[in-house]
């Protein structure tokens, strides 16, 4: 896959300690779970000890992506304290080094777990003795999803080259960033300003994070500096799934440029995966295409994507 993408730019280098990666995207049905499963599988192949967490609490299906039957214990058992440790809901997979924490397909209310439960999950996720915890976030922009995205060392945003997915992607980014800024707001007044920015019809005419920072700067330069640090640290990495041609591949570069120019965000382009028949053929057999069709284009692209994510590299500027 020699594109203009052979040039790699270093972004924030990943730390060597245990890492939390998460994959979000706002919209359902864009392949988040398959990307999570295949990246997790590839990480395990590269010798990492990996736990995949299916946090898509409304529609958990990561186990199916991996060709496993529904595991007997799920995240719901932990959330509802039927087991005391996350270790108790780990399921082995056929890939050595890769284990799974299944979501809670049977538990509709789980998508709205309470704050304390969430803190307990996060704490234990952090404590897992592995190299990478890879969290498949569900669709949507609920606070739980955003918080998992924000606590991650590597925050991956999946989109497909379609208007609905990209709109949702932007909404996801803005919601996550504003949630982060809200938490970092030093005063009640600034916090209210951040909250008002979420409303597209806010009285201050704030439409983008850049507008918000300008507004905060006018009121409280010290606070603006603090918020800018948060904005700089927020670095979502785009993965464009289901690309079909060069123009689709280029969309990732355009998203990064648009985020920089119009949202003031330092996003990066982690990689893309072509639409590939091998993927759905494997899905239909309830197998992962990484093992079923290791020579397929999609499998090669997942390997490249994973290597790039591990090294903290992204695709070049697109020109």
């Amino acid at each position: 896959m020699a594109l203009s993408v052979s040039e790699v730019l270093p972004v924030a280098a990943p730390r060597t300690r245990r890492q939390i990666w998460s994959i979000g995207g706002g919209k359902g049905g864009i392949g988040k779970s398959l990307i999570a499963a295949s990246v997790g599988w590839q990480l395990a192949r590269m010798g990492r000890r990996v736990v995949l967490v299916d946090a898509d609490l409304g529609g958990a299906n990561l186990h199916t992506c991996l060709g496993l039957p529904a595991p007997p214990r799920t995240l719901a058992d932990f959330i509802q304290r039927r087991v005391s440790s996350l270790e108790d809901v780990l399921t082995d997979t056929p890939a050595g080094g890769l284990r799974l924490i299944s979501g809670a397909a049977d538990l509709l209310s789980a998508a709205n777990i309470k704050h304390l439960q969430k803190v307990r999950v996060m704490k234990q996720v952090r404590a897992l003795d592995v190299d990478v915890v890879l969290i498949d976030l569900g669709a949507g922009t609920s606070y739980n999803i955003l918080d998992f995205f924000l606590l991650s060392d590597v925050s991956i945003l999946a989109v497909v080259p379609e208007p609905t997915s990209i709109e949702n992607g932007y909404r996801f980014i803005k919601s996550a960033l504003y949630r982060r800024l809200r938490a970092a707001a030093p005063t009640e007044g600034i916090r209210q300003l951040v909250e008002s920015a979420l409303d597209p019809k806010n009285p201050y005419g704030i439409r983008t994070p850049l507008d918000l920072l300008a507004r905060v700067d006018a009121e409280d330069p010290e606070a603006a500096r603090a918020l800018r640090r948060e904005v700089s640290a927020f670095q979502p990495r785009f993965v464009v799934n289901e690309v079909r041609d060069v123009a689709d591949v280029a969309i990732g570069h355009q998203l990064v440029a648009a985020c920089g120019r119009h949202l003031g965000l330092r996003a990066s382009y982690a990689g893309f995966v072509h639409h590939d028949d091998a993927v759905w053929q494997a899905v239909r057999r309830r197998r992962l295409f990484m093992c079923d069709a290791p020579t397929s284009r999609a499998a090669e692209e997942i390997r490249q994507l994973t290597r790039g994510l591990v090294k903290g590299e992204s695709l070049g500027s697109g020109y």
Partner: protein
Amino acid sequence: MDPVTDPLPDGPPTSGGESSPTGGDDLYAVLGLEPRASREQVERAYRFCLELYGEGSLATYSLLDPTEAEQQRLRVREAYEVLVDEEKRRAYDEGQGFSPPDAVVLPFPVPANAEHAAELPEVLTGADLRKIREARGLSLRHIAAVTKIGVRFLEYVEEDRFAFLPAPVYLKGFLHEYARLVGIDPRRAAEAYMSRIPAKG
């Protein structure tokens, strides 16, 4: 002066809309370039920005309203017109206090406008194409990377090794891409090149 791919939140606001199209913008930043950018980079950045702000662009339609997008296109075109023109660029650089880029990195070949496109000869050989490409300072590897056409095929094109070239329908596509990148009229160039290929019986 930061390239757009590395936007610093405390840099100058780049949000669309409020600044006038010409008003004191860093023309390099408008195209997401640094002042030492080569002519080739200016061309690529220009095409990239036109797509970024094009009508119906997936990446920007939900961020900018049509007026803002048009304004961005205007800024991009204005920046390009200065930076692509050797004289204007030099004057601009001097005005901004940028040191002139190293002389060797800036090939300024024949501009790719309609006037010159019309001057393409009726027949183009592979060697002609190579001359045009080299005048633009473009490597085959670069063209291959952008177009995804294998370097090998591009070499066959420039060496007139017709037997190794793909079927006309594909070759035409290759030539279009090649021509677009070196800045000559794609349709005419493809015709002028293919006019020499004997039809297969």
